[in-house]
């Protein structure tokens, strides 16, 4: 079995192992959980070692027939786009499980929590790696279920409301996506006479405009809900506020990225005409989300809600970068996904720690904590600044690349005034400083006058907590100072994706009334890297939609 199958199945094996240990042995459960995720992380380092940055297509593929009569294969593969998202997942999991606050204040059912987290990791890694749409859908839903339980069992007071809201929101989108997948499956059979769910095969299928649009909307709704794109975001603050720390970290750090990853992997390459038509709408929503999320964050008094709304703003940047479809902006979008995983993951870990110490998240209850817990204050400051987008920390690189890429995108290619969008979005650099520094000040600065904050229980970070924040801070620093190794490994895949997209558009423009057919070249994701690296922003604008 290939390394990709190993890292997908290892967490499941860990989950099985956990089930065999008696319920009372909580330390062993935690140990298995942490050990499994660490081993998975170490295993994922082998992927990094084996990955060839010069190739644009899928690498290290695993392809086993699963259900032959239906053409379902257990097909996994990795390219420059999924590589770092998988690394982010395998990195964040052990860091989260290392945190004593991961399970939240309802410190119950440790065994089940570990199982849920491990199942979640398997689902996330599998969904990032899946190259068979059926397998993708299975993993996509697989990660939904553990998260439902994590919020619903270990969450706060309104956990049932939040978990049901989360599931219904997500399910509506994903069911439509399933319908679209089945439609593609049928269309592929009609065009070729064979059954296949294979991503590479299905993404060669070129549909006429109308079915493309419907499929784009079906996939897009699933992804937009997950991101979440304005105005589909209202499940997020509820889910985050109620979720235990571990759930929040993984939800914001990794799961939200499935929305943006989905756009990049599926919606854009498979439905180029629809993408072109819908790009103005999606980018407008993204830009609204950037500003709206930031303004909402500015008026929150609950630290977790504030961070949740900041995610809406930050993920808006990612969508903007993706929809620009230029090399620089898409690279920036991928980087922003990783950076947001680190910084927002860190923010939730920090808020979780504060809740553990003070049993409140209301900003007004805090004040002057620097005096009491200086080491944690300094750690949290670094994470806040990473989220603000201070250069030298991870948040800046992605935002900068997205904005400069969007600003310099050719006008009229996908939307009419990229400069205006970039300028509006750039105003979020001011707003981000406003809401995050206000939060920071209310918690850590000012007089230490609330007696509850002087309680001896309010301890500075110690033991494992130091490692948790140490890892996050080192990651944020390294990603801010030396981003090039990451950018270099996604460069070719992104270039191939963009050039593939442009070729598909050109093909559609030259042949507007063609019925569903197969695009002659291999799919965008797997195209040989014929495209020059700078095919993005400086490239010629694509043809307009028919």
């Amino acid at each position: 079995m290939g390394i990709l199958a190993w890292i997908t199945l290892l967490p499941l094996a860990g989950a099985l192992l956990t089930m065999l240990v008696p319920r009372e042995e909580e330390a062993i459960h935690r140990g298995i959980g942490l050990g499994t995720t660490i081993v998975t992380f170490l295993a994922s380092l082998f992927i990094l070692g084996d990955f060839d940055p010069a190739k644009s297509g899928f690498q290290l593929e695993v392809d086993k027939v699963w259900v032959e009569s239906l053409g379902i294969h257990f097909h996994l593969g990795i390219d420059g786009i999924s590589l770092w998202l998988v690394m982010l997942t395998t990195f964040l999991m052990p860091v989260t499980l290392l945190s004593p606050q991961a399970i939240g204040t309802r410190n119950i059912r440790v065994r089940e929590f570990v199982i849920a987290m491990l199942a979640l990791e398997a689902g996330m890694v599998g969904a990032f790696l899946a190259l068979d749409l059926f397998v993708f859908y299975v993993f996509w839903e697989l990660m939904l279920i553990p998260m439902y339980f994590i919020i619903g069992i270990w969450g706060g007071e309104r956990r049932l409301y939040a978990s049901i809201k989360f599931v219904i929101y997500t399910l509506i989108g994903s069911l439509l996506m399933l319908v679209a997948i089945l439609y593609l499956y049928a269309q592929y059979h009609a065009a070729t006479g064979t059954f296949s769910f294979d991503y590479v095969a299905l993404s060669r299928l070129t549909l006429p405009y109308d079915p493309q649009l419907l499929c784009f909307l079906a996939f897009g709704l699933a992804f937009a809900t997950k991101i979440p794109l304005f105005p589909l975001h209202t499940w997020l603050p509820d889910a985050h506020v109620e979720a235990p720390t571990g759930g929040s970290v993984i939800l914001a750090g990794v799961m939200l990225k499935f929305g943006t990853y989905g756009f990049l992997r599926f919606a854009l390459p498979m439905f180029p005409l629809a993408t072109q038509a819908m790009a103005p709408v999606v980018t407008a929503l993204a830009v609204i989300g950037i500003v709206f999320g930031a303004l909402m964050a500015y008026v929150q008094n609950d630290a977790k809600k504030l961070v949740a709304y900041s995610s809406v703003s930050h993920l808006g940047f990612v969508v903007l970068g993706i929809m620009t479809l230029g090399q620089v902006a898409v690279q920036g979008a991928i980087y922003q996904m990783l950076a947001h995983g680190i910084s927002t993951g860190g923010l939730f870990l920090g808020v979780g720690l504060l809740y553990d110490r003070r049993h409140t998240r209301k900003l007004d209850d805090f004040g002057g904590l620097w005096k009491k817990i200086p080491i944690f204050s300094a750690c949290f400051l670094v994470i806040v600044l990473a989220s603000v987008g201070l250069p030298g920390l991870c948040g800046f690189v992605g935002e900068f690349l997205i904005l400069i890429g969007t600003f310099n995108a050719p006008a009229g290619a996908l939307f009419s005034s990229p400069k205006l969008l970039a300028i509006i979005s750039a105003s979020a650099v001011i707003l981000a400083a406003m809401y995050l520094l206000t939060m920071y000040q209310k918690i850590f600065f000012g007089p230490l006058d609330n007696p509850a904050n002087k309680d001896p229980h309010v301890r500075d970070i110690h033991g494992r907590e130091r490692w948790v924040f140490g890892f996050v801070i080192v990651a944020a620093l390294v990603m801010g100072i030396y981003p090039q190794p990451i950018l270099a490994r996604s460069e070719k895949s992104v270039a191939a994706l963009i050039s593939g997209f442009q070729e598909r558009l050109a093909d559609a423009a030259s042949n507007p009334d063609a019925p569903a057919h197969l695009f002659p070249n291999p799919s965008a994701g797997a195209a040989p890297s014929a495209a020059p690296a700078n095919a993005g922003n400086s490239g010629k604008p694509g043809p307009t939609a028919p």
Binding site: I168, P231, H233, T234, F292, L295, M296, Y298, V299, G326, Q327, V328, Q331, G332, G368, W370, A378, L385, L390, P391, G392, F396, V397, F400, L401, I404, G405, F407, N408, A422, I423, A426, S427, V429, I430, A433, M434, L437, T438, Q441, F444, F445, G446, P447, L448, I481, Y482, P483, Q484, L487, A488, E491, V494, A495, A533, N534, A535, G536, N537, S538
Partner: protein, 748 residues
């Protein structure tokens, strides 16, 4: 990288302070003060040694070829964008490095005494090291994004150091205000970077400079009839105005005085706040392509210089006076670079670094002596009590007033004379130079006045302090006085490196101008007579200002000062309240923004989206569920009732005579033809049609035919009603239509 570039380990210059900061953050808490100080001072001292070595022994040979360069690694490279983490030292960045490391080192030494009793001693020095490292990245950055790293880094350190005594809310507020105001500027800086990249395809300063020629795309009209160079220059200046506290973004700097005084000296006087001036000088090649952008820089600078000087008249806090003085002096520098006289702006930056750092450190020393209070109303007579501090202050005071031979005299004169002599603005904007010059002369007069007021109120006459404070007044320890004396030497004699060439006819005496020539172009050539004239004028103005201040404040508050305050109480209060600009911003921007965001949250997010949109969908599903549940109750009687109602409805609808959804009407003159048949088919079941044309309720035409014709007596609005009756079931359908004959008639 081309072959002519000379490599040198420039990275050491910022790296050493960064390492110092890292070590202090990680271990400093457990160390003794001496160890903390040793590490911090060694870090900045080592950095200074490397910088001086590079500047004096390596740079001169290669200054013409673009200076020294050091590439650490590729920072971000994707698509057509490539940014190296690289440093470059040319004459301009080299000079700034010297200022930063030298004054930085002095201030480290001074802080050892000043912060002696502070429990957060290690944290202070960690921040100070971090600041020096960031500032050095800012000036040494080889490209705009690397400069931006330093730019934001110094902003962060400023935030941390202003709020150093964070347990008092006003300090933390001041830090936040500084950071956010700077971020508004950074927004402009970012847009400037994007525009530059779009126009030139590069972000490296050396490449931008060689790209920026008169025929390039930079001079082509871009938007609203203005050129690319104009927009780049204007947006970058927003960034510069934020960092260097110019109108309208200056409001953070006076509040920044909440930080420890050495910080005010280093960050908020000598180095960080001059970064905007440095940036404009760095981008000089782009700015000279757009006189309009330069005019904005120069006019904003000159206006700020005067405005801040006026506010300085009425402040009663030692550091606040100096803060507004800094804002004003920064305005002078912008006026210098804004009149394309880049070397003069940088010259003033350099002299100001010495005399203003000296003034601030004197303030620190005085406040140290006065038990922490900075209220100049309670000072006086400190000349004898703190003789060393007085001597240093005296030199720096004469320097900032522009008294001949002292450093500020030469640099201020270079700017003022340049403003009148510059030819950059051409014919359209020829008024800009003289306007800027006059504003600057007024500002210079104001400077002499408020600085002399400060001097007299603090040092002359009898002391106004209370007995207990008086008892404590003492000269500061040698660790504080030592750096002060060094700064005083610089403030006194530093101007001699920039004696204008036109003055004695010896251009080679202008060492500084010559050195900078390779980086920012030659200094403006001012004729001998003009030079003399402006030197005379500014000397006279300085003396007038000092004299005026003496009549008001010599030896304490004298009668003229009290009379003036009594005569114009409202005006004096307005100036003392800094023209209430902070209140204006609060009322116009900050509070409305928060209210808007709150309203958006409560109305759009909570109600519109979550309750109506999302809740609406949920409620719809809920209602559908409830309704359909009623039909599934398993109650046979209810099923029968529903069956009966349904059957009756079916019969009713099936037996109604069918009519079209709209009447077909044809009009010719006042005659109308109406057809009530359905889709042109004749009625199969012998229906009766009754046509009422004239709104009287009685049908005019009745019969089995589905069409009818009628002629009206007069034009106007009429309603045609048709009643269709099925004689077998006695069921009826009705249909009507309004017609307007006048309109139809006119159309024909």
């Amino acid at each position: 990288m081309n072959a002519s570039e000379t490599l040198f380990n420039l990275r050491l210059i910022p790296l050493l302070p960064f390492l110092g900061a890292a070590v202090l953050i990680l271990f400093g808490r457990r160390w003794k003060r001496e160890a903390v100080l040793t590490v911090a001072a060694a870090a900045i001292g080592g950095s200074a040694l490397v910088a001086f070595d590079a500047f004096f022994t390596r740079l001169p040979a290669v200054a013409e070829e673009g200076g020294l360069r050091d590439v650490v690694w590729t920072w971000m490279s994707t698509g057509n964008l490539s940014v190296d983490l690289a440093f470059r030292m040319d004459a301009l960045s080299g000079l700034l490095c010297l200022i930063i490391t030298f004054i930085g080192f002095l201030i480290h030494l001074y802080s050892a005494g000043y912060m002696e009793h502070d429990p957060d001693y290690p944290r202070f020095f960690a921040y100070l090291n971090l600041f020096c490292g960031s500032m050095l990245v800012l000036v040494l950055g080889d490209s705009m994004p690397v400069m931006f790293v330093g730019w934001e880094g110094v902003g962060l350190c400023s935030y941390l150091l202003i709020g150093f005594w964070y347990h008092e809310t006003p300090n933390a507020d001041a830090g936040k205000k500084a950071f956010i105001t700077n971020r508004i500027g950074d927004f402009g800086f970012l847009i400037g970077i994007f525009l530059t990249f779009q126009a030139t395809g590069t972000l490296r300063f050396s490449e931008i400079t060689s790209f920026a020629t008169a025929g390039s795309v930079l001079t082509a009209p871009a938007w609203l009839g203005m050129s690319n160079a104009f927009w780049i220059g204007t947006f970058l200046f927003i960034g510069a105005a934020g960092k260097s506290a110019q109108i309208p973004l200056y409001v953070w700097l006076p509040d920044a005085m909440a930080g420890p005084t050495p910080v005010s000296a280093l960050i908020h006087a000598a180095t960080m706040v001059t970064a905007g001036v440095y940036m404009v000088a760095r981008m000089h090649a782009v700015y000279v392509l757009s006189p309009a952008a330069l005019a904005i820089v120069a006019l904003v600078g000159a206006a700020t210089a005067l405005f801040a000087a006026v506010i300085g008249f009425a402040q009663n806090d030692f550091k606040k006076v100096l803060a507004y003085s800094t804002v004003s002096q920064l305005g002078f520098m912008f006026a210098g670079v804004g009149t394309a006289n880049f070397a003069s702006g940088v010259f003033h930056l350099y002299t100001h670094a010495f005399f203003k750092a000296g003034l601030f450190l004197c303030a620190g020393s005085i406040m140290h002596a006065m038990s922490g209070s900075g209220d100049i109303r309670k000072m006086g007579g400190l000349r004898k009590l703190t003789p060393w501090t007085h001597g240093v202050f005296l030199v720096c005071w004469l320097a900032i007033c522009g008294v001949p031979v002292f450093s500020g005299f030469f640099s201020k004169d270079a700017i003022v004379a340049g403003a009148f002599a510059t030819g950059i603005f051409g014919d359209d904007l020829s008024w800009v130079g003289p306007t800027v010059g006059v504003l600057l002369l007024l500002a210079a007069l104001g400077t002499a006045f408020y600085m002399s007021r400060l001097y007299f109120l603090v040092f002359s006459g009898p002391t106004r302090a209370d007995a207990q404070t008086q008892h404590h007044i003492h000269e500061s320890p040698p660790s504080m006085v030592g750096p002060l004396v060094v700064l005083a030497v610089g403030a006194g004699l530093g101007g001699l490196v920039g004696v204008p060439g036109g003055l004695f006819g010896h251009p080679e005496w202008n060492l500084l101008g010559h050195t900078l020539e390779t980086a920012v172009g030659p200094e403006l050539d001012v004729p001998h007579n003009t030079e003399l004239l402006f030197m005379a004028v500014s000397t006279v103005l300085a003396l007038i200002g000092i004299g005026l201040a003496y009549t008001f404040y010599g030896g304490g508050y004298r009668a003229p000062a009290q009379k003036f305050a009594a005569a114009f109480p409202g005006f004096v209060q307005l100036v003392r309240d800094k023209f209430r600009v902070d209140e204006l911003y609060g009322a116009v921007i900050i509070r409305p923004l928060r209210k808007f965001a709150l309203a958006l949250f409560r109305v759009v997010d909570r109600v519109l989206i979550d309750q109506i949109l999302v809740g609406g969908v949920a409620a719809l599903v809920d209602v559908l569920g409830r309704v359909s549940r009623a039909f599934q109750a398993g109650d046979a009687q209810r099923y029968m009732a529903a069956f009966a109602i349904g059957a009756a409805a079916l019969v009713f609808f099936a037996t109604r005579p069918t009519v079209p959804s709209t009447l077909k009407v044809e009009v010719s003159g006042t005659t109308v033809s109406v057809d009530a048949s359905r889709a042109g088919r004749a009625s199969p079941r012998g229906l009766t049609y009754a046509f009422d044309f004239d709104d009287d309720g009685r049908p005019e035409v009745v019969g089995l035919k589905s069409d009818a014709r009628y002629t009206y007596d007069q034009a106007g609005e009429h309603t045609i009603r048709v009643t269709v009756t099925d004689p077998r079931w006695h069921t009826q359908s009705k249909i009507k239509r309004k017609i307007d004959l006048s309109a139809a008639g006119e159309r024909k």
